[in-house]
Amino acid sequence: MQDIILEFQNVEAGYPGLNRQILRNISFRIVKGEFITILGNSGSGKTTLLKLVNRLISPDGGRILFKGKEIAQGKPEQLRKNMGYVIQQAGLFPHMTVAENIAVLPKVLKWDKKAINGRVDELLSMMKLPTAIEFKNRHPWQLSGGQQQRVGIARALSTDPDILLMDEPFGALDAVTRKELQQEIKQLHLTFGKTILFVTHDRQEAIDLGDRVMVLNDGEICQFDEPRRLILHPAGDAIRELFHADTALKKLSYFKVSDFADLLREGQEDKGSSVEWEMPMETVLDCMLQGQKTVSVYREGKYMGSFQHGDLIQAVDGIENQGRSQAGGRV
């Protein structure tokens, strides 16, 4: 039984004065350490969903549980101090320096000075920002958009929260910086294993970053699954469309060697050109592009079979066909 860090049970939410509910019957579970991306258009309720987690919005119905306890009990401030919150334009406080911005919560929590300074330096280097005094004393207006957002993330992580909430954090940045930060946040997730809830309207971002992707449409969850299962078992045309523009290589990248075990054929064992059972499928293509006509697959030392060029074509075909014929998905 894994550690469920966040759970929604039949949650309904809307804004006062609005007739219909923005979110209807939302239920899901998130396991500790998952990187969840929430994908949807404007009006799909994705930001509302995020704000329900840290009680910036109250639900009209249903229950929300964080680490097993209902979040509606106790003070919202206490809850939020344990949840990092990053918004689109960073929201850095303009009258404070970089260091002061990051140190806001530690100061309020009355940490001692040395601990605060240490933590600020730690977070700055984590976000690949300079720890020089000159930088720490800068004000937000002296930072580029990307730097501001990095400081925003550092500030959110200052109390080492259990969960990190991000609301379209890279939306206001240029394409190059966005790519950089996407890679960095993915790296951070791999290094520290923090649970992350990441709202975006960018399909590619959602699919690339998320361990599981929650697709919202018109206030309801269409599908909530790993990217590869979204490809194989899309719950509708809208979801199938998500992968429409992907190349075969991209589609292959979501799968592991073990997913295509049925395509393995008997061949000559060759430890030289081999991949492991659990490796991503693209490593097979990689080997072939480097000149190998056959790639052997091993599972903990045991030979399982080999792939040839034609098998890869069949694999991609299989992905496309399965996506087309099946419908359904688990939440």
Partner: protein, 226 residues
């Protein structure tokens, strides 16, 4: 003119001191009262609108007329003057505080709440510093306004520079009249100037530009250039 000045400078300075006292007390009461009223009315939006409407009507009444209303009720003297001027100031200050609150950018408001700061903490650490230039602006306007209206207080026996000015008017005494005018306008301009300096500093502080990195451009973030 000069002989009058040399013989009566103590009287002139006395009037100036009285005037400053009037303005100072009125300001203190106005600002504190405005703060309290604003916080209380925050919980009753309907009452807030009614109050602002009432004060707007009062503000449209010329100062002499307002004092004329108050004298039968409160009598002559400094107290009445202070009450009248406070009514005017309350209107200006309440609107000023409202403008200051609206000036806090939405994303900063959201960020402060979202990271876990409670009401008092977010006000102290985030909102007040950002609102500061607007609040100071409001107080500046109220100060200048009060300085001017306090001159009217001379008519209801509240003392101050109004005394000198109106005496001069009544008795066709030029030095008194001139000194009255000069001192009131001079005081108003001086206070305005000082407050603008303060306001400009606050603008730079709120934007984080008050440090070594200040750009040395000519029209550098100033509200007014005097």
């Amino acid at each position: 003119m000069i002989s009058y000045t040399l013989k009566n400078y103590d009287k002139l300075l006395g009037a100036l001191a009285e005037h400053l006292e009037l303005v100072g007390i009125t300001l203190l009461i106005s600002v504190l009262l405005a703060g309290v009223v604003y916080m209380v009315l925050g919980h009753f939006p309907l009452l807030q609108k009614a109050m602002l409407l009432l004060l707007l009507v009062a503000y449209c009444i010329p100062s002499i007329a307002l004092f004329a209303f108050l004298v039968p009720v409160l009598g002559l003297g400094k107290g009445t003057a202070v009450v009248g001027m406070t009514i005017y100031n309350l209107f200006l200050l309440l609107r000023s505080i409202q403008a200051a609150e609206n000036a806090v950018p939405a994303n900063i408001y959201e960020a402060a709440r979202g990271i876990g700061l409670n009401g008092i903490q977010s006000m102290r650490l985030v909102y007040l510093p950002v609102m500061l230039p607007y609040l100071i602006s409001g107080i500046r306007i109220v100060t200048v306004s009060t300085t001017g209206i306090a001159t009217m207080a001379g008519l209801i026996h509240a003392g101050g520079l109004g005394n000198i000015l109106f005496e001069g008017m009544r008795t066709y005494h030029m030095p008194k009249l001139i000194w009255g005018i000069l001192m009131v306008s001079g005081l108003a301009m001086l206070l305005n100037f000082l407050f603008i300096r303060l306001e400009n500093w606050a603008v730079r502080y709120a934007q984080g530009k008050s440090g070594v990195w200040r750009k040395k451009t000519k029209t550098d973030d100033k509200i007014l250039s005097l």
